[in-house]
């Protein structure tokens, strides 16, 4: 009896606290929330409740559970006693009612944890516990979804910062050097359901508002200029034969790795700098860039292949306080030694940089690790510090005379003939910049389309300028009345004695700070409940922000003006046209990055003591791989089923080495066919996914399982009961595999049903270790030596199908390809419309799945299906 009271009190307290206003349900414990996903819905968890299949999810209704709850609970939680102020008989199935929902949550949690019914009372059948848990969770998710949007209505929303930046670039024909882009200035956007496209997450606060103003002002300053550029484009050239005359190079050419040759410099090891011989005219520092902008760097070089067949690779870099700004380009010098060619790159630089240098990257080791050379250097330094320069000269002389080289150690006598190694002939290095595609910039001539104004003409000219500009900026026809506020701004400036340019700049700032620019607004007055077909301009914007993450182009505007966009045939023709445009690449960063959650891949850093192969290049490559894979599929109209299994991978040299693939040279990603016996292929064999589903020292199969279910099937598991722990890591002496520990966990009745349906999706990937290397035996954590347990990646899917290894698992997933198609369609519909998917979308999604199957499963087929749906052109 006392136990009952205690538990009742506990419930009472919880409910009392929980019924305060503004309080809602959140599962109290997310064990491993490494997937930064779906922030406003339930996130990944290690211990997750999930109903075992057998009862399909839709089958459970409130009528299945209430009779049992009444039978077991009404005595204490009914009209007579109402312990914990809870009355079962007063509950309704409507979980959008907050207090009602909180009571249901409390019930679910209490019965899940076995707190209720109390000991000594008849217990609920396991099936009822499961059904209740599932029903409550489903209802909550539905309610949460509908709160995110207003049913299936597309809401007014502001542009996210990617859309903002792209729109400005397209609107004003601008490109931004690093640090000058709005993307660098505007803060990161919120996300809902994993995407930065949903109104509920795209809030606007005063600080963002002031940022919008400041950013718009800076854009206006770039858009309209006064007079010639402050820094005209200059061409600066360094002839490497001139370097030989420089005093500075003396110590370098004493080394084996570098030698002056007729017309230039030979490089075998190490590198050369620009030695102050390359700078923007008039600058006192070593920098070629007087201002933030774009610069073209050109190296004329030839190369000789080494005995080992290696092509020489050189790197041009700049001294810079920001690490990410150092490398300018890497060049495989394929031109012949006696027939040098120019290698060029155009790249953003800013005024913080310093001297340039060129280094050869091939490893040669011309020097042996010996002491004497180093001793010379040390003694030389000491003598110098004591001011004994006679001694320093003497030592330097002896060092050369005795052949200790200019470097830290002794030349390897075996390697004195450097012609055996890959080497490079450097002719010259040239820098041109800052580059201006046009001066005045295109934005300037586009806005001031008639050139400069005559004084008397200014107000009329300003009106013409904004009459032309505003419809593009606001993406629709603009009435005269709407132009007035902007012209008012211009007039105020003119009245205050500002120049015409400055007045137009201020007007431009207003146009870009206006809600008509910042928001994607569709007419919604008066039609709250009734759906209506969008007008052509609204459709044009939906289409362009979907495929390009930016404003419509002229062709779309023309089609809108001609009233063509409600014709699904014409719409699909635009889809083809737009996908062929380089701007379609923005789907990769906009959609794929968020769908595949690559931003979360590096949340946990692998322990470098356990995983010595892991390095920065690999980290970079594993994040890019899924995105490059998506790009390949998009650009080549390949089947999306390749995400489940593929006979190719898209990798660079580092990743190819990681996957044991030969013959991949160079840092660029490319399509590589897999040998028949390869374990790679498909998303789930990508190392980034494995790393994301690990905590640095061990794999986390449940996290991986959640990833599989959410990313491939959009089927998030139910949240765990509150206060469950995570799977305990091995402590001293224990050598249980993660699988064994999970199985232990499955012994707990409350956890069992869910985990049996969830864990297999992650355990199937157990052959991939923390950094995605294939392993047959357990590694990481406390596992070393010969007697490590063999990995068992087998299991049974909730549909009863068994698999024994990763490959069979992948084949079983392929059998569920319709579920995958639907998942992808759901994610893309959300991305396209900027609202959560609702039950009303069922038909659109079913059609999309059918269209994909009929259309070779390409992304193009999916996109066309969605675009030609009723949902896409109506609201």
């Amino acid at each position: 009896m006392s136990l009952m009271i205690r538990q009742s009190l506990q419930i009472k307290r919880k409910i009392t606290v929980a019924s305060k206003p503004g309080v809602g349900f959140k599962p109290a414990f997310f064990c491993i929330a490494s997937w930064k996903l779906t922030p406003l819905v339930f996130r990944s968890v290690l211990i997750v409740l999930l109903t075992l299949s057998g009862v399909s999810q839709a089958d459970v209704s409130v009528d299945d559970i209430t009779p049992a709850l009444r039978k077991h609970c009404l005595k204490c939680h009914g009209p007579d006693t109402a312990e914990a102020q809870l009355r079962i008989d007063r509950l309704t199935p409507d979980l959008s009612d907050r207090d009602n929902a909180l009571a249901w949550i409390e019930i679910r949690n209490a019965i899940n944890l076995g707190e209720m019914p109390p000991d000594g009372e008849p217990q609920l059948p396991a099936e009822i516990i499961r059904h209740t848990s599932h029903w409550v969770t489903q209802q909550l998710r539905t309610v949460e979804r509908s709160q995110l949007g207003a049913g299936d209505q597309v809401l007014l929303r502001r542009l996210n910062r990617h859309e903002y930046t792209n729109t400005v670039a397209d609107l004003l024909l601008m490109k931004f050097p690093t640090g000058e882009s709005p993307l660098d200035t505007l803060p990161p956007d919120g996300t809902a359901e994993g995407f930065d496209k949903v109104s509920a997450a795209l809030l606007l606060d005063p600080s963002l508002m002031s940022q919008y103003y400041r950013v718009a002002r800076r854009i206006a300053d770039r858009a309209i200029v006064d007079g010639p550029p402050a820094f005209p484009t200059e061409r600066m050239r360094l002839e490497f034969e001139d370097i030989a005359d420089s005093h500075a190079i003396g110590y370098l050419v004493r080394r084996l790795g570098m030698k002056t040759v007729p017309g230039g410099l030979q490089l075998v090891e190490g590198g050369t700098r620009s030695f102050g011989m390359l700078r923007y005219p008039g600058r006192r520092d070593q920098n070629v860039a007087p201002v933030n902008g774009f610069y073209r760097f050109t190296i004329r070089a030839g190369g000789a292949i080494g005995e080992n067949g290696e092509t020489p690779v050189i790197r041009l870099s700049q001294n810079h306080p920001d690490d990410s700004m150092r490398t300018i380009m890497d060049v495989s010098v394929t031109a012949e030694w006696d027939d040098p060619k120019e290698y060029s790159v155009t790249i953003a630089r800013n005024s913080l940089g310093g001297e340039l240098s060129i280094r050869i990257l091939n490893e040669v080791s011309l020097y042996m690790g010996q002491r004497p050379g180093e001793n010379f250097r040390r003694r030389n330094t000491e003598a110098g510090q004591q001011g004994d320069f006679t001694q320093t000269l003497r030592l330097a002389g002896r060092q050369v005379a005795e052949g200790w080289g200019g470097d830290r150690s002794t030349p390897d006598p075996e390697k004195l003939d450097v012609t055996r190694y890959p080497r490079v002939f450097l002719d010259y290095l040239e820098v041109e910049g800052p580059l201006y595609d046009h001066w005045p910039p295109q934005s300037h001539t586009m806005l001031l389309f008639r050139g400069d104004a005559k004084a008397a003409d200014e107000p009329a000219y300003a009106r013409e300028i904004f009459t032309r500009f505003l419809p593009r900026a606001w993406r629709r026809p603009v009435s005269d009345a709407e132009i007035e506020p902007i012209l008012q701004v211009v007039q105020t400036e003119l009245n205050s004695g500002e120049t015409f340019h400055e007045a137009i700049r201020t007007g431009l700032t207003a146009a870009l700070t206006s809600p008509k620019f910042l928001y994607l607004a569709e007419n919604s007055a008066g039609s709250e409940s009734a759906t209506r077909t969008l007008n052509d301009y609204e459709i044009a914007s939906r289409l362009s922000y979907f495929l390009w993450n930016s404003m419509p182009d002229d062709a779309l505007f023309r089609a809108a003006a001609n009233g063509e966009l409600r014709d699904s045939g014409i719409l699909e023709a635009h889809v083809d046209r737009m996908l062929a445009d380089p701007k379609a690449d923005r789907l990769v960063d906009g959609f794929a990055r968020q769908w595949l959650r690559t931003d979360s891949f590096l949340d946990f850093t692998p322990d470098t003591n356990l995983y010595r192969d892991y390095d920065a290049k690999l980290a970079d490559a594993v994040v890019r791989e899924p995105l490059e894979f998506f790009r390949t599929i998009l650009q080549n109209d390949l089947s999306v089923l390749n995400f489940i299994d593929s006979d190719f991978v898209v990798v660079n040299d580092r990743l190819a080495r990681h996957y044991g693939l030969d013959g991949v040279d160079g840092p660029e990603f490319r399509n590589v066919a897999l040998p028949a016996d390869s374990r790679r292929g498909g998303l789930l064999a990508m190392a980034g996914v494995h790393q994301a589903g690990s905590d640095g020292i061990r794999t986390k199969p449940v996290s991986r399982a959640v990833y599989v279910r959410e990313v491939l099937f959009n089927n998030p598991p139910d949240p765990p009961p509150p206060n469950v722990g995570e799977v305990e890591p091995n402590i001293n002496g224990q050598r249980l595999t993660v699988r064994e520990r999970l199985l232990q966990h499955q012994q707990v009745a409350a956890c069992a049903s869910c985990h049996r349906a969830l864990d297999p999706f992650g355990l199937a990937l157990e052959n991939f270790n923390v950094i995605g290397t294939w392993r047959d035996r357990q590694d990481g954590e406390n596992f070393r030596g010969d007697h490590r347990p063999v990995i068992d990646a087998g299991g049974r899917l909730p549909n009863g199908r068994e698999f024994h290894n990763f490959d069979e698992f992948r084949q079983l997933l392929l059998e569920q390809s319709d579920r995958f198609r639907r998942c992808l369609a759901e994610k893309m519909l959300l991305y396209a419309l900027g609202r959560p998917v609702s039950p009303g979308d069922d038909q659109v999604l079913t059609q999309a799945v059918a269209d994909m199957k009929a259309g070779d499963d390409t992304l193009r087929a999916l996109i066309k299906s969605l675009v030609s749906s009723r949902a896409f052109i109506s609201r």
């Binding site: 503004g22 959140k26 414990f29 803060p187 963002l208 709250e528 949340d603």
Partner: protein, 439 residues
């Protein structure tokens, strides 16, 4: 309201004969300047709220015993010299959160995913903000708001429940607070004020036009725009109001180099130890110069970062918090926590060294810090400490045992009531101020 027309009047003339015009809001905003010019400087209260994401090693956090003489734990050892100036609070918890969701309910008691409400610092800012150049400041190790993700970058929320973006670059903050307006800027300033006012007028007109085309639901979204524009207008008025007064020029001897300060992102030269001191010193300087009285600071976000190379530990903070009872991990966790507390002690040193009225700046400043989780990702056993404010009536007692599961909001309520905010009815889920501290 048309700033243009008002600007065409000589603002000083208006001010001199202001008696009849005070109903105009922008003049109202100017009033404190007039008052401040005549009133004698007085001692004012300040407050700061601090978030240490991802919890701490709570097994080595709490002092041994309770009351003024409780013995410092390993992690709190660096605070020993400040005994009597702080109180460790045992028993605090968050009603919501748990896992990495704790940053959301931290200041407001409202769970992640729910509509947020105004945070306590902003309530205090409503009261004190008009007397300072900045009503409040938001600092963070991460820029922006981070809204939507678990790694929230701010703990301040306005009346609309919108998160207020935080700044993480010491140089930017320093310039905003102290960099004198150059003569060049001064010359442009009036034009800049005029342009900004004029643009705000125009976009407000645009917003009203747009509103007419929208239904109820969309209008509610657009309300954020209206609110933001109005807030930016208020800021503009404040700037106009403060424009004639030079920014304070504090004595910077003994402070770090703000000219070359490095922000946490994207630069190999970042050293956390330097950064932490620069940021804490900025708070001290901002309080000292009465540039603001209210600051919130996310010292460490959830999930990401928290450990830097110079800490000399083997793994990231988040990796370490998944300690799995491994003594090695717990040891390193405690080591990192101790480093953070050493910085905290540095901060208290600084505040205690600055004279303010009859006491020190620390005596007139309340600093509340805690986390969204304790240890093992639970939302109870939070690392909560209230520091400073002795002359504001805080009675420190080194280690105080609160009732189990005392909501964190009671700490905030204690602080804002001492700031002079009157709490009508209940405050969040707080059972009231903490009597043992508030006296």
């Amino acid at each position: 309201m048309n700033i243009q027309k008002l600007r065409q009047l000589d603002r000083r003339t208006v001010l001199r004969g202001a008696g009849t015009c005070l109903a105009l809001p922008w003049l109202e905003a100017m009033l404190p300047q007039g008052l401040a010019a005549t009133a004698a400087p007085e001692v004012v209260p300040r407050m700061g709220m601090f978030y240490f994401g991802t919890g701490m090693n709570m097994r080595q956090f709490f002092p041994d015993g309770f009351g003024p003489d409780a013995a410092m734990s390993r992690i709190l050892q660096p605070l020993e010299k400040h005994r009597g100036r702080f109180t460790v609070l045992s028993g605090t918890w968050l009603n919501h959160g748990g896992g990495h969701d704790g940053a959301y309910p931290f200041a407001t008691s409202i769970a992640r995913g729910e509509k947020q409400t105004v945070s306590p610092d902003q309530l205090a800012a409503e009261l004190h903000g008009r007397q300072t150049r900045f009503p409040s400041l938001q600092f963070s190790v991460k820029r922006g708001t981070g809204f939507g993700s678990q790694a929230l970058a701010t703990i301040s929320w306005n009346r609309q429940g919108v998160p207020l973006a935080a700044e993480n670059d010491p140089q930017t903050i320093f310039n905003r607070l102290f960099r004198p307006v150059s003569s060049d800027q001064q010359a442009r300033q009036n034009a800049e004020f005029r342009q900004r006012g004029s643009v705000l007028d125009a976009v407000l007109a645009d917003a009203k036009q747009l509103q007419n085309r929208l239904g109820q639901t969309d209008r509610r979204q657009l309300d954020q725009y209206f609110n933001s524009v109005r807030e930016v207008e208020r800021t503009l008025h404040r700037e106009i109001d403060w424009a004639d007064r030079p920014k304070p020029a504090p004595d910077l001897r003994g402070y770090g180099d703000y000219e070359h300060a490095v922000a946490p992102e994207g630069n190999g030269k970042f050293v956390y130890d330097t950064y932490a001191k620069l940021m804490y010193d900025l708070i001290a300087l901002a309080f000292q110069t009465d540039s603001t009285r209210i600051i919130s600071y996310v010292v460490r976000t959830e999930l990401a970062g928290g450990v830097y190379p110079e800490f000399g530990v083997s793994r990231g903070y988040h990796e370490l918090t998944h300690h799995g009872n491994d003594p090695g991990n717990l040891e390193e966790l405690a080591k990192v926590d101790t480093i953070y507390m050493r910085h905290w002690s540095y901060f208290l040193d600084r505040l205690a060294s600055i004279r303010d009225g009859e006491g020190s700046l620390l005596d007139h400043t309340m600093l509340g810090f805690s986390s969204g989780m304790g240890i093992g990702h639970s939302k109870d056993t939070l690392p909560t400490i209230l520091s400073g404010g002795s002359r504001l009536g805080i009675r420190h007692q080194t280690h105080l045992q609160l009732q189990d599961n005392t909501p964190l909001s009671s700490v905030w309520q204690t602080m804002i009531e001492k700031m002079g905010v009157r709490v009508a009815g209940s405050f969040q889920d707080s059972p009231g101020v903490i009597g043992e501290l508030a006296g």
